[in-house]
């Protein structure tokens, strides 16, 4: 009996491998709930409970928005070979940019577009810096983008505690409330700021088209899969990477504007702005397998896990970070399924 590589697994086998590993993950998770003293069935029920009513769906929706924007961009960046781990920081940059326009420029009908533009721009500058460092000096973008996260984190802390601290907030660390012109419309009573959702859907569709139907996307795919071939053909690798990085940073910046203008209506402490969307979106992009369009499905999936985690926290007073455990187990099981579906067991005498 031995393992061999299976170069072209049948779809049936792939499906089976994934089912097996997802089941395994659920089992492990159930065990964890058990150990915590919670009935696994009840916990699963809570995890999926947001699907049951419109309020829950809205909760999923509002978490889907930043995940979709960032995930679509990251799917592109990863495909091109730019491993942007700094979407969290780029999101915060976007929030800073949006807040500046909202609080310090005269309000008017131009306020919201300008917020998105400046927020996205700052996000793009932030990721573009890492891309430039890589292209120019060969600096590893995984490290630079990761470190940049901390820089913005403390920039935001400084802003809300210092120069941008609100006039009437007393001891709290946040800015004044945005004027009405800087607030995004929402769906009914929910927190779903639909203009940003539309932007996310447009981003997923647009990037998919860009990647698979345009000459630029053609070059991106060549570079991402085979940098040697790109060199052989004489493609301008540096420019291509920079462009992909700018786009993914821009989208993360838009997500940041959406969070402050659609939900919080002010800039506040970084941990409250984002809930780690920039990191969760890495999962969204990974599950989308380099296809921005697929983020339309994977972002709501992770959005559900985040919302379900909230429900778990509230109902069972489990720590909120339980969602990380769920997401992590899911990721592990998917990686395992991937490996399994590409191997086969050979029985021999």
């Amino acid at each position: 009996m031995r393992w061999e590589l299976d170069p072209s697994p049948s779809p049936w086998k792939v499906f089976l491998a994934y089912s097996l590993f997802v089941a395994l993950a659920l089992l492990l998770l159930g065990l964890l709930f058990r150990l915590y003293g919670v009935s696994p069935l009840k916990a699963y029920g809570l995890l999926l409970s947001p699907l049951g009513d419109s309020l829950g769906l809205a909760e999923v929706g509002r978490r889907t928005i930043p995940l979709l924007l960032i995930g679509a961009g990251l799917a592109l960046a990863f495909r091109v070979g730019f491993f942007n781990i700094g979407a969290e920081g780029q999101l915060l940059m976007g929030a800073v940019g949006g807040t500046y326009v909202a609080l310090f420029l005269p309000p008017g009908p131009w306020t919201l577009p300008l917020m998105f533009l400046l927020g996205g721009g700052l996000g793009a500058v932030w990721s573009g810096l890492a891309a430039w460092l890589r292209v120019r000096f060969g600096a590893n973008e995984i490290l630079t983008t990761l470190m940049q996260n901390y820089l913005v984190y403390y920039l935001v802390v400084y802003l809300v505690a210092g120069p941008w601290k609100g006039q009437m907030v007393f001891g709290f660390l946040y800015t004044d409330r945005f004027p009405p012109e800087a607030q995004l419309p929402r769906l009914g009573d929910t927190l779903v700021h639909w203009p940003t959702l539309l932007l996310g859907i447009a981003a997923a569709l647009g990037l998919q088209l860009l990647l698979f139907r345009t000459p630029l996307g053609f070059e991106w795919r060549v570079l991402g899969e085979n940098p040697e071939a790109a060199r052989y053909l004489g493609l301008k690798g540096g420019r291509l990477i920079l462009l992909a990085a700018l786009l993914s940073g821009f989208l993360a910046g838009l997500a940041g504007v959406g969070e402050v203008a659609g939900i919080h209506l002010r800039l506040l402490e970084p941990a409250q702005i984002s809930l780690g969307y920039g990191f969760t979106a890495i999962l969204v992009a990974w599950l989308a397998r380099g296809r921005p369009l697929w983020a339309l499905f994977t972002a709501p999936l992770l959005g559900l896990i985040l919302a379900g985690g909230d429900a778990l926290k509230l109902a069972l007073s489990m720590p909120f970070r339980v969602v990380d455990v769920v997401a992590g187990l899911l990721l592990l099981s998917l990686i395992g399924a991937e490996a399994l579906s590409q191997r086969r067991l050979v029985w021999r005498r």
Binding site: S8, R213, T214, R221, A229, Y232, G234
Partner: protein
């Protein structure tokens, strides 16, 4: 000594070996001849315990044996020298050899060398046991593999395409060593797809084709024609005559210098006329790759290059636009595995398919269909990812793409490396077509026969120094061999 009886091995619906029966005696060299994909490697893998046969049995000195693993093969006295040396580069020769021994947890270097010397007594070493493997030549690395195989005092020695990494001189040394081992009573199985060496070393020759043994002849009864007929299933057409070059000068290279790690490539001066092939030989790593990369715009260089009387465009895109095609050294550099055959055929020309900012995939696939037909690329469809194609078909994809639009100059590096006789013939045919049409070709190859068959003039690289060129008529294998190993014309 060793006998295989009716060995059959299937992979899914593909039969890799069908009812193969072979026998090799003590003190005999049996050559296993066949094209790529004929089933040689599968047979070796069965013999070395990597695969189990589906049917048939293996007899060693009359006893039926089972070989479930390479360890078992070694215990039975079957040793393998792999095609590409599998050594740990950072370690010394002695340390690499030690991997084949059962050693105590801790041991001194001195004791190890002493023990190795004792085990290998009677065999000439040919390499310094204390030298790090990274510093050895390809031939020396193979020598280490051979010594490692001999450590276990084998009865049967299997050599898998052992000359593919060697210079002619090194190959001759290997043959002498094989004759010596034969005289010591070893049974040797020598796997190759090169006719000359099989005729030079074998006592008996078994020919495989498409997984079956199609013939077995004694050396005395064999000649090239017979072997080719057995191997390919038909006679090869005589190579088409290369017409003499024209007057027009396509490429002038004057005093080219390519800096690189180690020694630079230098003193490269030649002119190439329309319809001319210049062959460049050299031991692997003598600077051929760097020379071609420099010409292809992938590596900085100094010196003067003029193409059709104009200065040389230095970037790959500009080069292709002006009519310079490039078959890269590594096939993997020339294609993107996950992209479709159609997309790979358009890697150079995709801007032509842009309609209103978008790529017109219909047009791209239509054109691909035409190229697939014309070049006989075997693929289920133009949308199939290239990584599902065989090496020969991948090379045809590269060739079809590069020759599109009638280039004036072709830089071809190892264009037939790893291809079987049939595919090699096709690639050569395409190159000659191009030459007849008036293009110039710079052909870099490690296959001297290929260079001698196609070139008008030949040159060599020796430690980065350009030697020659000389006229083809004035060069033969020996002279070319001297040019590449001694650096003299």
């Amino acid at each position: 000594m060793l006998k295989l009886e009716n060995i059959t091995k299937r992979f899914g619906s593909v039969v890799a070996n069908r009812r193969i029966t072979l026998e090799v005696a003590r003190g005999e060299v049996l050559a296993l001849l066949g094209e790529n994909g004929a089933g040689k490697t599968t047979l070796v893998s069965i013999l070395y315990g990597l695969y189990a046969p589906d049917e048939g049995r293996i007899l060693l000195e009359g006893q039926e044996v089972r070989i479930p693993s390479p360890k078992a093969a070694q215990r039975l006295g079957i040793a393998l020298v792999p095609q590409h040396p599998e050594l740990i580069e950072a370690h010394t020769v002695a340390e690499n050899l030690a991997l084949g021994l059962d050693l105590p947890l801790a041991f001194s270097r001195r004791a190890l060398v002493r023990r190795l010397a004792a085990l290998l007594e009677g065999h000439p070493l040919g390499v310094d046991l204390e030298a790090p493997v990274a510093r050895l030549s390809a031939g020396e690395k193979q020598r280490v593999e051979l010594l490692r195989a001999l450590l276990n005092r084998p009865r049967v020695l299997v050599l898998d395409e052992p000359t593919s990494v060697l210079t002619p001189k090194e190959a001759e040394g290997l043959f002498q060593e094989i004759r010596r081992l034969k005289a010591l009573g070893l049974a040797v199985i020598f796997i190759s797809h090169k006719l000359e060496e099989v005729l030079a070393i074998a006592d008996r020759i078994a020919v495989l084709r498409a997984g079956e043994k199609v013939g077995e002849v004694w050396r005395q009864e064999a000649d090239k024609d017979l072997l080719v007929r057995l191997m390919v299933g038909r006679s090869l057409a005589p190579p088409p005559k290369v017409p003499p070059p024209r007057e027009e000068v396509v490429l002038e290279v004057e005093d080219l210098l390519v800096p690189r790690h180690g020694f630079p490539v230098q003193g490269v001066s030649f002119t190439l006329r329309a319809g001319e092939v210049l062959g460049i030989a050299g031991v692997a790593g003598s600077g051929q790759a760097e020379l071609v990369q420099a010409l292809a715009g992938l590596r900085p260089h100094q010196g003067r290059i003029r193409f059709l009387g104009k200065p040389w465009p230095r970037d790959p895109m500009g080069l292709f636009r002006q009519g310079v095609a490039h078959i890269p050294e590594e096939r993997s550099m020339g294609v993107v595995g996950g992209m479709s055959v159609a997309e790979n055929l358009a890697l150079r020309t995709y801007p032509r398919f842009v309609r209103r900012g978008l790529l017109d995939y219909r047009a791209m696939e239509m054109e691909a269909e035409g190229l697939i037909q014309r070049y006989g690329i075997r693929t289920p469809s133009p949308r199939t990812p290239v990584r599902f194609l065989s090496g020969g078909n991948v090379q045809k994809v590269i060739l079809a793409r590069e020759l599109w639009g009638g280039p004036r100059l072709l830089l071809a590096m190892h264009p037939t490396y790893g291809l079987d006789v049939g595919a090699t013939e096709e690639v050569h045919g395409r190159i000659l077509e191009l030459v007849q049409g008036g293009a110039a070709v710079l052909l870099v190859s490690e296959d001297l026969d290929e260079i001698l068959a196609l070139s008008h003039r030949v040159a060599a690289l020796y430690h980065g120094r350009f030697v020659g060129p000389v006229l083809r008529e004035e060069a033969d294998r020996e002279r070319l061999g001297r040019m590449m190993t001694e650096g003299r014309v």
